[in-house]
Amino acid sequence: MSMTERDELVRSLAGLALFADLGDPDLEAIADPEWERRYGEGERVLRRGLSGGGLFVILGGEAAVEIPDGAPRLLQRGDFFGEVSTLLQCKPTADVVARSGLHALEIPGPQLEEFLLAYPQVTHRMLQTMARRIRDLLE
């Protein structure tokens, strides 16, 4: 089982826009088993008001961003979250909760800077996504 699943993790990462510019050696390096996470329906992934979180990239399943008094925003495969609190080293202002079985990769906060510097193509793609979010907010 293990050989297939390891291949699946690398292939799963390769299929995401965020990692589309990376070759196999880089993808193998990123497919760190210690970064792989699974959450059951209703489990909190990112916790509002708690320090020390990381950046999450959804590999499969759905999650919802839950802001007090706001409509939840759905996240799916390829979406990422936790970047604002990690980059700014502040506590998240929203909960992110698994909507179904959620499969994700977590890049721990203290390793994010090194990660973004090591893979500038990923950083560029992440900036594009964040720029789109700002544009959507302004429109």
Binding site: S2, D7, D24, E28, A29, P33, G49, G52
Partner: protein, 485 residues
């Protein structure tokens, strides 16, 4: 024909524990103390689990200090003894250091095995040895049925103490012919040879360290860089430092960040073809021997068919904060596999669940949870009066909080009920007004207390300052904690 005098014959039990390594022994001990009737079965013929065979080079990674700031047999001493199982009776505590010859502050494999066997014999923990679990299903009323070499066991819940024991191989073309870590020969047999070790974690460096005095050259390779921060702060340094220093200083050993693309068997030796990761470029090596130090997986057999999911590339079961495969499934794990409940992993710091000093406490918390789910009355601790001095004392001396940082917490309700709980459970589940305290560590290795106050369902986190001597019982911390409450 001789009568079979082994305990726990096949039949119906509230709980079945599978395994007689440290995880199984600790879980059985804790269940028995709570009065939970259960059977323990094991395919082995003696207690000890993985420690009956490994580590190959015989020296463990985790410390036990025969002399320490606290007296052996006390709860505070457990923090200085990472290898013994925990018990209420001081005579059953600190059994590993009792066998240590003090040539190192980490025990040998044999010293560890003797400590575990003594625990199993003295407590005692009755085990049905030579009974192999072979398959699992649910019967019509939802009970678990474990088919074994001795017959069928039916139970409301099963606790799997299987270890992380099945050799696991990275998916590299050609690796199927490579000997795994468990097949490593005696060091002398590598004399004068060039050896490639796939893997740069515990077992990879253990092999490299063991072969250094014999091999002509040792080269380690895996995609991710060596975790220097881990080396600096964890007890694995005992195994890591020599080969890593040799590699760092250009002494002939190499620790390559390398994605291996294929392994070819040559007439005499092996060819390794790959590409550098942190430093790109092709790598093409010919070596005399290859060893796959690529880790282990949990032998889950058919548990996937009962809904057990996995993490870590299929190697570890994904678990709830109480180490169950899914809430209400009745399928629990103990021992090394409890790392499948990741917890909060604040600042990327993982719990010590893969090691005895971490999972022995997970077992105790799991046993209480399991007992309660079976309707067994679980005794409650109560804090009378002002909880602040008690919480500060716990933050300073509780071994559960020090070994399982930001993972296990001491929780006290407004009514004074006190319990060690998974921190993830405390912050994520609804409950009465309460406070939980945990010891935490940031990415720089700074250790500090954290306070979580739950009031009307809302959780508020407050981080307290560190202390040079890790003593949080002074007036500064008292004031901070009172402010938080």
């Amino acid at each position: 024909m001789a009568q079979d005098e082994r305990p726990h014959p096949p039949g119906d039990y509230p709980v079945v524990v599978v395994g007689s390594g440290p995880g199984g022994l600790q879980a059985s001990y804790c269940l028995a103390r709570l009065g939970v009737e259960h059977a323990v079965i094991s395919q082995d013929d003696a207690p000890g689990g993985m420690f009956r065979l490994y580590p190959i080079f015989q020296r463990l990674l985790s410390w036990s200090k025969p002399d320490a700031p606290a007296e052996p047999g006390t709860r505070a001493y457990e923090w200085y003894d990472h290898n013994s199982l925990v018990a209420e009776d001081p005579r059953h505590q600190a059994l590993v250091p009792a066998f240590m010859d003090r040539s190192f502050m980490v025990p040998s494999r044999e010293e560890m095995e003797r400590g575990l066997a003594t625990f199993a014999r003295q407590v005692p923990v009755p085990v049905r040895y030579g009974c192999r679990w072979e398959a699992t299903r649910r019967d019509d009323d939802g009970r678990l049925v474990l088919a074994t070499s001795d017959g069928e066991y039916r139970a409301q819940a099963a606790v799997f103490a299987l270890g992380v024991t099945t050799p696991w191989f990275s998916p590299i073309p050609g690796i199927e012919a490579v000997p795994h870590y468990v097949e490593t020969r005696t060091a002398a047999e590598y004399r004068g040879r060039r050896v490639f070790v796939i893997g740069k974690r515990n077992s990879g460096f253990e092999i490299a360290d063991g072969l250094l005095p014999w091999a002509r050259q040792v080269i380690l390779g895996s995609p991710r860089p060596v975790q220097t921060a881990v080396i600096a702060q964890a007890s694995v340094r005992v195994r890591y430092l020599q080969p890593y220093e040799d590699a760092s200083l250009g002494g002939g050993t190499f620790a390559l960040d390398l994605a291996v693309e294929r392994i070819e068997r040559l007439e005499r030796g092996w060819r390794i073809v790959g590409r550098g990761t942190t430093r790109p470029g092709p790598v093409d090596l010919e070596v005399d021997d290859v060893i796959a130090a690529t880790g282990f997986s949990t032998p889950l057999l058919d548990l996937g068919e009962l809904g057990v999911r996995t993490v870590a590339q299929g190697r570890i079961p994904a678990l709830t904060p109480f180490w169950e495969s899914e809430p209400g499934s009745g399928i629990y794990f103990t021992g090394n596999a409890t790392q499948g409940a990741a917890g909060l992993r604040k600042h990327g710091v993982g719990a010590a669940s893969p090691a005895v000093h971490g999972f022995r406490y997970n077992a105790r918390v799991m046993a209480r949870h399991l007992a309660a789910s079976l309707g067994v009355a679980v005794p409650a601790e109560r804090v009378e009066g002002d909880p602040v001095p008690y919480l500060l004392e716990e933050l300073t001396t509780a071994p559960e909080l020090w070994t399982q940082k930001s993972y296990l917490a001491r929780a006290v309700t407004a009514e004074g009920l006190s319990e060690i709980v998974p921190l993830a459970h405390f912050v994520d589940e609804a409950g009465p007004d309460a406070v939980a305290v945990a010891v935490e560590m940031d990415a720089t290795g700074l250790t500090y207390p954290a306070v979580y106050v739950r009031r009307s369902g809302e959780i508020r986190e407050r981080l307290l300052p560190p202390d040079l001597l890790n003593d949080f019982r002074g007036p500064e911390h008292e004031q901070e904690l009172r402010d938080a409450l």
